[in-house]
Symmetry: C2
Amino acid sequence: MRKDEQLQILKDLIKINTENGNELETAEYIGGLFKLHHVPYRIDRFDGNRANLVAEVGLKETDEVLGITGHQDTVNVSDQRAWTHEPFAAEVVGDKLYGRGAADMKSGLAAQIITLIELHEQRAVKGTLRFIATAGEEYGTPGANRLLKQGVVDDLSALLVGEATDGQIVYAHSGSLNYRIKSYGQSAHSARATQGINAISGLLQFATAEATLFQQAPLDSILGAVKHSITVIGGGEQVNTIPDYAELSGNVRPTQRFDNQQVIALIQTAISQINQQTDYHLEFDLIHSFPPVETTPDNPFVRLVQRAAADAFVDRNVALEITNGATDASVFIKGNPTMPVVILGPDEKAVSHQVDEYTTLSGFYQVIAAYEDIAVSYFKAGSRTEQLAADVVSPQIRPARQAG
Amino acid sequence: MRKDEQLQILKDLIKINTENGNELETAEYIGGLFKLHHVPYRIDRFDGNRANLVAEVGLKETDEVLGITGHQDTVNVSDQRAWTHEPFAAEVVGDKLYGRGAADMKSGLAAQIITLIELHEQRAVKGTLRFIATAGEEYGTPGANRLLKQGVVDDLSALLVGEATDGQIVYAHSGSLNYRIKSYGQSAHSARATQGINAISGLLQFATAEATLFQQAPLDSILGAVKHSITVIGGGEQVNTIPDYAELSGNVRPTQRFDNQQVIALIQTAISQINQQTDYHLEFDLIHSFPPVETTPDNPFVRLVQRAAADAFVDRNVALEITNGATDASVFIKGNPTMPVVILGPDEKAVSHQVDEYTTLSGFYQVIAAYEDIAVSYFKAGSRTEQLAADVVSPQIRPARQAG
């Protein structure tokens, strides 16, 4: 495929508005490309205009199945007037291509589509290369949840996620657990405060406890400390009324060393103590819980991806990183807990979800080369053994850097 | 005036819906009564259908001016389906008359109107009895603010407020100060929490400080400790985003010993400390500030009102009380800081602002008798000296009871 054809696919994807939904249009666009290039695929439509797409190529000369995955949705353009480039025009200025999803992650998705088409035409995949395009990664992961139940990841021997990483190798990311604390009190006129039970005061008891709650969580050897934030709070309606209800929502980033169940137990213990020791009444709701995804940095798949990325991204140093951002892999790992997972994607991670989001054309072409190299090399004899790993450069592990 | 005529006035007032406004219709109704009975009055209309009304009777044989005041507005009927008596029908069942404002405070207001009409007809007021009916006491006191500026209270020698007190004598009430704390941070993805500044965390710093902030405030000899509550809180929009803004509102009940200015200074000092010692940025907004109203329990006017109430409310023990609820007197005291202020009103304080609010007919007729007694006795020679006070029973001071 010519470079201008590759770029056109990326532009076409950005021009389809998939703010928190509408993935069907994207899936049908991808399906159209695959049909043209004789790549077998299926669209998994749900909830009206939402859709996943799964496609597979390869000679099946080995039983191994390499998954490559990306999401079709984007976060929304919350403040369009702040954009200097129209978010759905895919405008190119120099090496930059602007648009909602340019980084997160239509550039990675386009590179995966191109990889599938080109390797299929070249008959270059010895085993099976399965492309998994999801819906709703940015909110609730409904698409990945469906595919998990359908068993799409059960037989994967490794998974490559195409989220933007600036060409770096992310071999581990924390989980993500969102919860809500509901505080019930009793209303009263503020002049008779002692006749009521202030639900905000009850909530503040938890908030105070939360500030130090995770200090007791042991450090994960890869991901370090458990990160945690209270991100939404609300309670009360009138300043002269003692509120009978208040709630907060928080986010925690579990690790394998202190996992989602331990996080939940710790929060619930804190709540039980407050409920027992005070007049306040707090309740815990789990909003969602994605486990951490950790592959050891010396895993052969990690080293294969790093070698391929280092060969492709000639303009930069390719290092191993960890991140606190969850991906669809947090869902998929539930169906296949032992598969190695690596994230490798194009530019520009830092502008994901931001105004004037962009990717670089150079990084886009580089990541296509890396993906194709990985999908070909993966099925070569011995590729999944330490033998091949020994050939590649020893991993350069950067200090932990928080990333998307 | 016959009792059924008196009751009709109360019913008519309740049937006029003055939920947080529409006082003009009430003022015009009262004006119609006064016109019929040749009581001079003026209506102070503002903001469309809002209005105060001021009327005056008396022989002016002395320079003293006794004010009697009540508000025409009510809080709203938030949950009409929960009412078993239609809130604007003024339904009588036994000794109870139901309706929004029956207690707070159309019964007190009606008693004041009747007092004015009857004493005017009887030519029984030696000095000047000024009736001040206000708008918007329940929210923002726009009516009292206007009257204050017009100088309506400047020459008052004493003020009687007709809020429901169940026939008890309230000689002091705390002030009421509502404030807002705004917390500004910097948003970030929750996966990159340390790249942001969590505005909720900043707000929680203040909330934690607020819990003990007023422990250092000295006790008022009459009102005791400064009461304080955080009553509204809000911040954050999405659980996966570190919030860049959060705010809370709180209520404080200042006393003369620790007054509104000291309360404001204390809060601002706490905020300055947080701003200086952390990355958080908090700002203070004053929403409104009503000073405390305290008259010493041995003030002759307090004792006169107590004697009259004891004579009228033969079915109960009439005691001296304090309360934390603010009234229009908190506004009026600004224009006349030394005037004695007493609150005396009918039943049923506890159901103010509640579903199936009611007053008692017996209490309504009793408070009319008390008001008329007070307005006549006040202008008798020596009534404002210790000489008269010495005749009345020594004050029975109850322990502080928090009241509306």
